[in-house]
Amino acid sequence: MGTRLRFIVPVMAAACILCLARGGTHGKTGMSGSWLKNVPLYAGTRTNPYAQDQDAVAAGAKLFQRHCSSCHGKDANGTGRVPPVHSITVKNASPGALFWLLRNGLLRRGMPSWSRLPDEQRWQIVTYLQSIQDR
């Protein structure tokens, strides 16, 4: 029994994970912007302390490449099922709403929470995201 248990557990674990790995990262909900309705009023009205700051745009670009590009693409145009960041939703979202999204993520849809980054770095990413919308 002990020998069987030693092998059954890792084999079951690997099979379980392979099946679940089919589950997506970032469903299409990210593209439709339905997450915006979950943004609390106090969060959505926050202002970006680095708005129009070119150093923040550059820093945000660096952080985006480092933390976000593996899913959203180096050019922010999305990859596979992961939505682009160049979008009407992001363009029309307030800076506070984008900051809220980075802090909370969309865990059910596969976007992680970036609360591990300091507030300053998340605002730098928001500054970058807003700067690329008109390109």
Binding site: S70, P118, Q121
Partner: protein, 278 residues
């Protein structure tokens, strides 16, 4: 080669803990490989190196799973494989809160010769690691470990608390332990210029961990406790280096432990597997 095909710059930005867990999950579809090591020496024994190979995968945004394979080498003794663990962490609350809970459950199949000290529970002490490997490896430990992880991020600081309960499946009592960590990045703002070994890529903190006895004898008496400053350097290419000297503060503790690790994150593995299924 297949693994390197996924290599792209990605960073976890995690606190530099070795023992304490936070509520941060592995990014869905990402695989992290880590090699963690512990050097110690029991007060009346030989120096040893305990090593863990960690393979962590982000299954969902709320579920991460990890396999650990452990081994150790003891001076003037032998080197051996000491077993494996399978760990799962689940985040029940989908948003970010003041205190974020995570539920942790692990199955461990180890021999008594294991010296990786991934956590300290019960009456784990430095003297138990004096047993020669040939004798210690005979003991089989199949254990279920559960943790309640509570973690908070505030103004760049992370504070995490873990309450640990572990049960050997061969009719031994529940053992308890704890781990507490506090850490922050050395710079809160990123600089506009690319950099590698710069202050914003360093994170520093301190961990406290130790045992709390068993169900029959709960408390601090005759238990081991450690305080361990820790620091990490996260390079833009996805590699993280970590080091932590640990200092025992009770007579049951090792006087000194040195932990060091290197980790590498591989994004996109999940997407590759999905393409295989199509």
């Amino acid at each position: 080669m297949l693994v390197l095909a996924f290599a792209a710059p990605v960073s976890a930005a995690d606190p530099p803990y070795f023992v304490t867990y936070t509520h941060h999950m592995e990014e869905p579809g990402s695989l992290e490989l880590a090699f963690e090591n512990l050097v110690g020496r029991p007060q009346a024994g030989e120096r040893f190196l305990g090593s863990l190979l960690e393979v962590e995968y982000g299954v969902k945004g709320w579920w991460s799973t990890e396999f650990y394979f452990s081994g150790q080498g003891t001076r003037n003794d032998s080197t051996l494989f000491t077993g494996y663990r399978w760990e799962n962490r689940f985040r029940p609350l989908m948003g970010e809160h003041w205190i974020n809970p995570v539920l942790y459950v692990e199955f461990a199949n180890l021999s008594g010769a294991d010296k990786t000290m991934k956590e300290v529970v019960g009456f784990d002490s430095q003297s138990k690691q004096n047993t020669p490997n040939a004798e210690a490896r005979v003991e089989k430990k199949r254990e279920i470990e559960t943790k309640l992880i509570l973690s908070s991020n505030f103004k760049g600081w992370n504070l995490s608390e873990n309450v640990i309960a572990e049960k050997n499946l061969s009719n031994e009592p529940w053992e308890f332990g704890y781990a507490v960590g506090v850490a922050r990045p050395l710079a809160l703002k990123a600089s506009p210029r690319p950099c590698r070994v710069c202050i914003e890529n360093f994170r520093a903190g301190v961990e406290f961990y130790g045992g709390l006895g068993t169900r029959h004898q709960f408390g601090l008496r005759n238990t081991a406790h450690y305080v361990a400053p820790t620091v990490s350097l996260e390079l833009p290419g996805g590699t993280t280096f970590q080091i932590s000297p640990g200092f025992g503060i009770t007579s049951a503790s090792h006087r000194f432990l040195l932990r060091f690790a290197v980790a590498y994150e591989l994004p996109g593995l999940g997407r590759y597997l999905r393409r295989l299924y199509r």
